[in-house]
Amino acid sequence: MNLMNYPRKSASISHYKRPLSWELEGKMYELVMDDGFANVLSFRDRICHWTIGDRSGDAAGYWCFKADDTTFFLTFEVTEEESHVYILDFAQRLVTRLICKKGVNPLNWHFIGREYVFGAIRIPGFRLPYKRHCFTSEHLGTRVQWRWSPQLYTQHAYLESNFYRITWDDGSEASSDFDETGVILPSTDEVAQYVKIKDKMVLLSLTEEIAERYEGDKQTFRCDNLTLLQNYDRMYQVGRGYGNVIFRNKLSHVHILIASYGSPVDLPASFLEAKNPFTV
């Protein structure tokens, strides 16, 4: 049997997701966050118990990946309306927390609000570092092809600090998935934020706000947030997708693990130099 024809389920952007890491099991971490609220994470029986100030909860089935030997991408859902992401960077003893919430926009429930807080991990025997992860523009000018599955690859250009731009060519499955978007919208620029974790490691969080604003109910995916920890040393990224999808006329919640492998790509000047039509 040709095992390339193994009857695998189509997993789209989750296809190459790496196995979960359980290295944090049995551990507890006090996070000293810059918003002033005590934040504690403890991991037992594959459940993350968290507190932020007066809030606390159990996050059953936390998902944790490693982006390199000492950096963890941790995510869990508090409810379907609230998703937490922590980047735990043990080499530098730093942490970035991203909380995504649905239903915060009074005009459109699908819009996802995003709150970033930076901080440090208190490790006994070590001083709390003064440095922090930070929003960055160092990577602007990066062009990369991300392969999500044997058939699906997309090409990203990071040209502005608050946007990313995507394209694909005819050889990719994306051409059949996304071509309608290209007809309706004047460009593929979308809202994004970038956080520098360390040299050659960037946290990218993109939210499909512009497509939602323009297309609304015509879309299948409604303002999804993809948060990806990109390791440019090793040229792969790990992360999660969060939002809503309309499937068979029914609204469903989305919370999936995603990953892809990168390679350099040449993109046409017409794509790279086109003005972002969504900014002044």
Binding site: M1, N2, L3, R8, P19, S21, K66, A67, P150, D233
Partner: protein
């Protein structure tokens, strides 16, 4: 600044997955009809097999499935905690041992398999760096090494083991031609392959240098081998 540059910082080991330390602090009893071992991960980056303690590197291929490389003799272990099975090879010259873990009694221990015959795959180890393999029904393997698509060789030194559905271990002695992306001298390949997610983890080994390099790869359809 374009962070991708030419994306070749690590060459053939570019896509190597992060090392896994999930097993740190754990101890396992490995048993076969002929042998019994205590396996202890007593410190991060170290493993003790019986009384022999050595540095180890571990990659995680799937939830509860690991491949560890350790010891001066280049031992390696595939540990499947889901099925309670382990494969252990204590040196490149020794035979593969099939063991149970912690008293599990699986329906059947893994062994050599012919199920891979007919598979043709491209394993991508880095940006533009790949191996194409065609695994034949007679157990041989035809290889192409990037970037030399013109040179293909067939080897009879392939061993295939099936762990469980979609998970296979391939062990191959395959000295490639000169001027390929694989470092010269690294002729032995051990690759734990998952054909469901099309991901693989393992190592390449140089008998001459007595050195191994951990690798990870994703699979796409081959372009040169049918």
């Amino acid at each position: 600044m374009n962070f991708t540059h030419d994306g070749k910082n690590y060459g053939f080991t570019q896509y190597r997955a992060p090392l896994a330390f999930d097993l740190y602090g754990k101890e396992f009893k490995l048993r076969s009809p002929a042998a019994e071992y205590t396996l202890r991960f007593d410190d991060k980056g170290f493993v003790a097999l019986g009384d022999d303690r050595s540095y180890c590197e571990t990659l995680k291929n799937s939830n509860d499935l690991y491949i560890c490389v350790f010891g001066e003799k280049l031992s390696y272990l595939v540990l499947d905690l889901e099925t309670g099975i382990a494969l252990l090879k204590q040196s490149p010259e020794s035979e593969m041992e099939f063991l149970t873990v912690d008293g599990y009694t699986p329906d059947a221990l893994p062994g050599s398999t012919e199920e891979m015959g007919g598979t043709a795959v491209r394993w991508n180890f880095g940006c533009g760096r790949y191996l194409e393999h065609a695994y034949h029904e007679d157990g041989s393997c035809t290889c192409i090494w990037s970037p030399r698509e013109d040179k293909r060789k067939t080897f009879k030194t392939a061993h295939y083991y099936k762990l469980r559905d979609s998970f296979f271990l391939v062990e191959l002695d395959a000295a490639g031609p000169f001027y390929t992306d694989i470092p010269i001298g690294y002729s032995t390949l051990v690759l734990l392959q998952d054909y469901d997610r099309l991901l693989a983890d393992g190592f390449i080994y140089s008998p001459a240098l007595n050195d191994c390099l951990l690798v990870s790869a994703y699979a796409t359809a081959p372009q040169f081998l049918a």
